[in-house]
Symmetry: C2
């Protein structure tokens, strides 16, 4: 009686959330101190103090009618301007508030961008494994077709031969995510240059723009000394999707943005299409209190020292055991090869020993598993013997 | 290069917002005290004190990681249970938290419900004028077809002959909105009984369920002595879409819900399809702080005395001038017949005299205009000579 596709989406829930809920049930039974939960990417560091103080100050001192009223759909201009200025300072760009559309986080941003670029029922979007599996639902659930480039399991950059083979005249967009969930790898400047060259060539060949949709919620979580290459500087027709979920530890509050750079061809038309995608999705405005908070706090930098410490310890410990792991340069995930090369049974077995990790099948890369290290350090310490036992059992 | 439909949606903005922004510009020029702004439905009464206190208390006393983390996609169970209990107390129903899916307000709820019931590209949704024009974008922007029943300009109930003529085997849903924006009229129990009988008959005739999507953000804003007839009690296959925007004066914060009653046929499948519609729209969870606020405040009743006083005075004044007006039983709008029967030029002319009202063309009923009376009483007093002048000019 209802939509089969939507019912399927509603029934087949995201595996990460499934595992996380199994874990929570088990925690209620045996106590959280008796299990090791690496299942979900919920930040373990509280929001920056300035962010929390801004919320309280606004609620205490501003007129509630001003705080909680509708804003314009693209967001408050002071919020948009503050974000543009911050990006310009950091990346040498020249955006204004008019390039920004404030959304309810990166997923909303992605749906707006995808709806904007899908032209008809044959339009295609390409994702690159390992990837956030919701890209497929966001595309197919809005009338498009989704294709996946298999993972480069060597370096976790992009398998360009496979990507080139998948691009057709129907390709409207390619979605990338760097720093990557689940691999933690950052796409190098070389990768972005090659990607830009390929997309330019193919746009030219097919006579229409292929947009690069850059999903960047982990942009601020980078552990190396080199700054992250800013995708939009490599390819003009980039649509940037951002969220404050990870950088400001506000995943429940749903605040982020779409950036349509002024360098994009006919950028104002692209921006209108993004706004139309938002409108068709029932988006009215981003949460107004959080818009006010971002207007004040756009320049605040997150403290990533806790995640860095976790990463260093977990990576060192796992590689000492013998695990092979993608280079953990950003985000808060390790993506680790299952010792027997098949992560699903490996993760199921680990779960029996109260070690909760997510099989890479969820991300289009079934040889690996994901461990989210946005957790207590003490839990990582407790987990090492469990990882060791799992490794030994799988390799004996 | 991008979607034509989405670009159109992005460019052709909602007329209400256009007029409101013209008004704001004018206010910046001549001072807000020199114009009368009845354009937009932004609540003029601050959020209930208990709601504001709950926000501050949660932010001050709870762990920020608990406040701002992802919740499960359908929402926190304590929030869902609190809403179910409140509905049960007031309407004699027997819902549980499992019947509720917390959303980012009524528009998100509507898109989830519409995506849930659209089966294929031929599926149709029917709206009833006067109506919230976004229903059309929510339907067509998600791959369905939209049809509109012309207004019953006599009583502003439902033109049943026209509705019956529009229902086909492709009809998947009918959207109603009572108390109605823009008319302020409440659908009577008799109307809801007739609607239920017609939908049952047609569901039977075509061998599939026609869902009633009930958009109820104004449910708590009712000025008569009789309680509002609760739509879901008249027709089992109702999907209720609610928002706290108006009742708690939180339109910017985006918090509401979808209710799928246990009485609906295969209600769990319908609920799954709604959840799938949310997932495909990039909805992750409703804003978590607001979910916590609603869990505490679900039983708080809004103080509607300000709106009642405004309504009484504006209605009395306009009818004394000679205007004809729909019965203003709920919400915070008067829907008034333009003296010459064509509201668009009437509203344009009024705007020149700094009286900002919205032509009914925006709502599928071009003979009338909407005046949102969620405004200062003093402004209503100032507006009466302007309404008088506009009436006299149009009838001379």
């Amino acid at each position: 009686m209802v939509s089969e596709l939507m019912t399927e989406y509603g029934n087949n829930r995201c595996l990460i959330r499934e595992i996380s809920e199994i874990c929570n049930k088990k925690a209620a039974e045996i106590g959280r101190e008796n299990l090791c939960d690496f299942s979900i990417g919920n930040p373990s560091v509280p929001s920056p103090l300035a962010v929390r103080e801004a919320m309280l100050d606004i609620l205490t001192n501003e007129n509630p009618l001003n705080i909680h009223s509708y804003t314009s759909a693209p967001g408050m201009m002071e919020t948009r301007d503050a974000i543009a200025e911050n990006l310009n300072k950091r990346f040498g760009t020249s955006y204004t508030g008019k390039n920004l559309y404030i959304t309810s986080g990166a997923s909303t941003s992605l749906v707006c961008a995808i709806k904007a670029v899908l032209k008809d029922a044959d339009s295609e979007i390409i994702g690159i494994a390992p990837y956030f599996a919701e890209y497929k639902a966001f595309t197919e659930g809005n009338g498009g077709r989704f294709k996946l480039v298999p993972a480069d399991t060597e370096k976790f950059q992009i398998n360009f031969d496979a990507l080139e083979a998948l691009i057709t005249e129907k390709t409207q967009g390619v979605i990338i995510n760097s720093p990557n969930n689940p691999s933690g790898v950052i796409y190098s400047a070389e990768t972005l240059r090659k990607l830009s060259a390929l997309l330019k060539e193919k746009s030219c060949e097919y006579g229409h723009i292929i947009y690069l949709i850059s999903d960047e919620p982990y942009r601020e979580l980078v552990y190396g000394d080199e700054p992250l290459p800013f995708t939009a500087k490599f390819y003009n027709n980039t649509i940037v999707c951002y969220s404050y979920s990870k950088s400001f530890s506000l995943p429940g509050e749903r605040i982020g943005y779409v950036l349509v750079p002024g360098e994009a061809d006919n950028w104002e038309e692209v921006y209108s299409a993004v706004a139309g995608g938002a409108r068709a999705s029932g988006f009215i405005c981003a949460p107004s209190l959080m818009q006010k908070v971002i207007a004040r706090c756009a320049d605040i930098e997150p403290d990533i020292s806790v995640y860095r410490k976790n990463r260093d310890f977990l990576y060192k410990s796992l590689t000492e055991i013998g695990y092979e792991c993608a280079e953990p340069a950003g985000a808060f995930y390790l993506f680790v090869k299952a010792p027997n090369g098949d992560a699903t049974p490996f993760c199921m077995k680990a779960m029996e020993d109260n070690l909760f990790i997510v099989p890479g099948s969820e991300f289009g890369c079934p040889t690996h598993f994901r461990a989210a290290y946005c957790v207590d350090y003490e839990m990582i310490e407790r987990s090492i013997p469990l990882f060791k036992k799992a490794f030994e059992e799988a390799t004996k």
